[in-house]
C-alpha cells in the first residue's frame, strides 16, 4: 500500500562506492566460445554471397519469395519449394545514424544500419545491413540502393561479403 509505506527497501550505490572499496565485489570474466552451424538454408545463402549473388527460397502455397532463405515456411508450416536468385538492389525501409558502440563508446564515423527491402523478393522482405558512400543527412526512407560487393578474392561466405549498400538510380 503505497500511501501506508514510508520506508522503501533497496540501497543505492554510487560508482565511487565501488571504486573506493566501500562495498565488496567479486569479478568473473567468462570464457565462452561458440561455433555456430549455418544450417541448410543459410549455408547456401552464404555460399551464394561468396559468389556475389543473393538467393532466396520460394513457397508455392503462400506465393512468397523469402529472404533470408529458410527451408520451411513458418506461415504455411510446410517445406519451401525452390531456390530463387534475387537482385542485389533494393529500397531503404528504415535506417538509423548510430554514433555509439554497444558499450556506449562514441564512434569516429557514424554507422548507418538499415532495413533494406530486396528487389525480386516478396514485398516487405527485408534484411539488416549497412549503408555507405552516402552522407548521413542524405539518406531517406524509400531510397533505392545497390550492394557494394567485397572483391571476389576476399569474400568469405559471410553477410559482410557485401561491404555496404550505396545509393543507386535505376537505368
Amino acid at each position: 500500500m503505497t500511501v501506508n509505506i514510508k520506508q522503501w527497501p533497496g540501497t543505492a550505490l554510487a560508482t565511487r562506492d565501488l571504486e573506493q572499496g566501500h562495498v565488496l565485489t567479486v569479478k568473473y570474466k567468462p570464457r565462452a566460445e561458440y561455433a555456430w552451424d549455418a544450417g541448410v538454408a543459410i549455408a547456401r545463402y552464404l555460399e551464394e554471397l561468396k559468389a556475389g549473388r543473393l538467393i532466396a527460397r520460394s513457397c508455392k502455397q503462400c506465393d512468397r519469395i523469402l529472404i533470408p532463405p529458410r527451408m520451411f515456411c513458418e506461415e504455411c508450416f510446410r517445406p519451401t519449394d525452390s531456390w530463387v536468385y534475387v537482385e542485389d538492389t533494393g529500397t531503404v525501409n528504415t535506417f538509423s545514424i548510430c554514433h555509439v558502440r554497444w558499450d556506449v563508446v562514441r564512434l569516429d564515423q557514424p554507422q548507418l544500419p538499415a532495413v533494406i527491402h530486396v528487389d525480386g523478393a516478396s514485398p516487405g522482405m527485408g534484411i539488416l545491413h549497412l549503408l555507405g558512400e552516402v552522407a548521413p543527412e542524405e539518406v531517406y526512407i524509400g531510397m533505392k540502393v545497390k550492394a557494394v560487393w567485397e572483391e571476389a578474392s576476399r569474400r568469405q561466405g559471410s553477410i559482410t561479403d557485401i561491404r555496404h549498400w550505396k545509393p543507386w538510380k535505376e537505368e
Binding site: 550505490l13 565501488l18 544450417g39 545463402y45 522482405m125 548521413p136 526512407i141
Partner: protein, 385 residues
C-alpha cells in the same frame, strides 16, 4: 472462467546499482507484497518468478538462484521469461495456475539486477541478433529501436519534438513515485538537446539500466473474498508472439500487440477500450514505444497517439492517464521488475492508495502491458475493481 484477484503488491526502490543481491531484492519485494495482503509464506501454494536474461546477473538458471528470496523453496515454483515482456507475463502465469482450480494463492516475484554486467549491460543484448546473418554487421540494441522509431515517425509524419513529450511527462510523473530512479522536471528542449545516440534516439528518449524487484500476491475468488478488503480482479489476459524475422515485418505497427490486446479485451468483455479503460500503463523503455503501444492496444487510431500526448490527454489528470507511475522512463527499467511495477501501480491506483500519483475520478479499470523478445512479444493484463 474462475475469477482471479491481486490482493497485495510490493516493490523495492529502482536504482542504477543496488547494494542488495538479486535474492535480497526479491525477498524485500516478496515480503512487502505478502504483508500488504496480510498473508504468510505458508499460505502460498505456488510461486512464479519472472526474470529476463541470465546474462545480466551472470548466473545460469536464475529461477533457481532467485527462488529462496521469492519464497519458492519446497513449493511448486517456475521461472518464466519472454524478454522485456516478462513482467506482465509472470502474473499471466499465476492467473492460469489459479484459473485451473489447482492453486488458491500464488506469489509472483520479478527481479532484475542489470548492474552486475560490465562494462555495460547492453552487452547482454548483443546475442539477440541472428548469429550468422546479422551479428557479423556489429549491431547493438539501439539499432532496432532507432530503426523502429524512424519507421514509425516517417510513416505517420510524427516529429521528435512530439515524441519527447512522453519522456517529459513520465519523468515528471516519476517525481511522485517513492521508488523512482529518474524522476525529473525537464522540458522538451532538454530531451532534444541530450546526446544523440542513434538517430532518431537521444539519451533522454531512453530508460535507464536499473536494479530492482517487484511482487504481487494473487488469489482465487474464495480466498480473495475471505482475506482481502479490496481485491483487484484480473479481468483479462492476453499475449502474442510475432516473427523473429524482424526485417520481414513492417515495424511501424505492433500487430502482435493488437492480437494480445484483443485477446484480453475479449476475455474482459470490453467492446470500446478507449471508453472502458481508465488508466494505462504501457511499456515505455523508449518514449516512442508508449505511443506505438497505445496504438497497438487500440486506445487510439494509428498515428494519433502523439497528438493525444501533446494535447495533454495522457497526463495523470487527462482523459486517458498513461503511465501515471512515471513508467520505465522515470521509475526505471529493471526489465522484468519494471513490467510488474506497472501491475503494482494499477493495484494501488484502483484501490485509491497511490498517494500523490493518484489518478482522479476513482478509476475502476486499468491495463498494463509489456513488450520484448526480439521486439515481437506483447503481454497484456486488464485489472478492475
Amino acid at each position: 472462467m474462475a475469477k482471479v484477484a491481486v490482493v497485495g503488491a510490493g516493490m523495492t526502490r529502482f536504482v542504477r546499482r543496488a547494494q542488495e543481491t538479486g535474492r535480497e531484492l526479491s525477498w524485500q519485494a516478496a515480503k512487502m507484497a505478502l504483508d500488504a495482503a496480510g498473508l504468510r509464506l505458508k499460505d502460498v501454494d505456488a510461486v512464479v518468478i519472472g526474470s529476463a536474461p541470465d546474462a545480466f546477473d551472470g548466473v545460469h538458471m536464475k529461477g533457481e538462484y532467485l527462488a529462496d528470496g521469492s519464497g519458492g523453496w519446497c513449493k511448486p515454483t517456475l521461472r518464466c521469461y519472454v524478454g522485456g515482456g516478462t513482467g506482465v507475463f509472470a502474473p499471466i502465469q499465476a492467473w492460469y495456475h489459479i484459473a485451473s482450480g489447482r492453486f488458491d494463492t500464488v506469489l509472483v516475484v520479478c527481479e532484475e539486477k542489470m548492474s552486475s554486467c560490465h562494462p555495460h549491460p547492453q552487452g547482454a543484448f548483443l546475442t539477440i541478433f541472428d548469429h550468422t546473418t546479422e551479428r557479423a554487421l556489429g549491431p547493438n540494441l539501439l539499432w532496432i529501436f532507432a530503426l523502429e522509431m524512424n519507421r514509425y515517425m516517417t510513416v505517420h509524419g510524427i516529429t521528435k519534438r512530439e515524441i519527447a513529450e512522453v519522456a517529459v511527462k513520465n519523468k515528471r510523473n516519476a517525481l511522485d513515485h517513492p521508488c523512482a530512479q529518474l524522476g525529473a522536471n525537464l522540458t522538451v528542449d532538454d530531451v532534444l538537446a541530450s546526446e544523440e545516440l542513434a538517430w532518431p534516439v537521444n539519451r533522454l528518449d531512453v530508460s535507464p539500466a536499473s536494479d530492482g524487484a517487484a511482487a504481487v500476491v494473487m488469489c482465487s475468488e474464495h480466498v480473495a473474498k475471505r482475506t482481502s478488503p479490496q481485491p483487484v480482479w484480473l479481468e483479462g489476459v492476453g499475449w502474442h508472439l510475432d516473427t523473429a524475422y524482424w526485417t520481414n515485418r513492417d515495424l511501424y505497427y505492433p500487430q502482435y500487440l493488437e492480437y494480445a490486446a484483443r485477446m484480453a479485451y475479449d476475455m474482459a468483455g470490453i467492446k470500446e477500450p478507449r471508453k472502458e479503460i481508465h488508466i494505462v500503463e504501457p511499456y515505455d523503455p523508449f518514449d516512442y514505444k508508449e505511443l506505438h503501444h497505445l496504438e497497438g492496444l487500440l486506445l487510439c487510431k494509428r498515428g494519433e497517439a502523439a497528438r493525444l500526448t501533446v494535447d495533454g490527454v495522457t497526463q495523470r489528470d487527462g482523459d486517458l492517464p498513461v503511465c501515471p507511475s512515471g513508467g520505465l522512463l522515470g521509475v526505471g527499467n529493471p526489465i522484468a521488475a519494471a513490467g510488474l511495477m506497472k501491475v503494482c501501480e494499477l493495484f494501488w491506483q484502483l484501490r485509491g492508495e497511490a498517494g500523490k500519483r493518484q489518478v482522479p475520478g476513482m478509476p475502476r479499470r486499468g491495463l498494463a502491458q509489456a513488450w520484448g523478445d526480439l521486439m515481437q512479444v506483447g503481454t497484456v493484463v486488464i485489472m478492475g475493481i
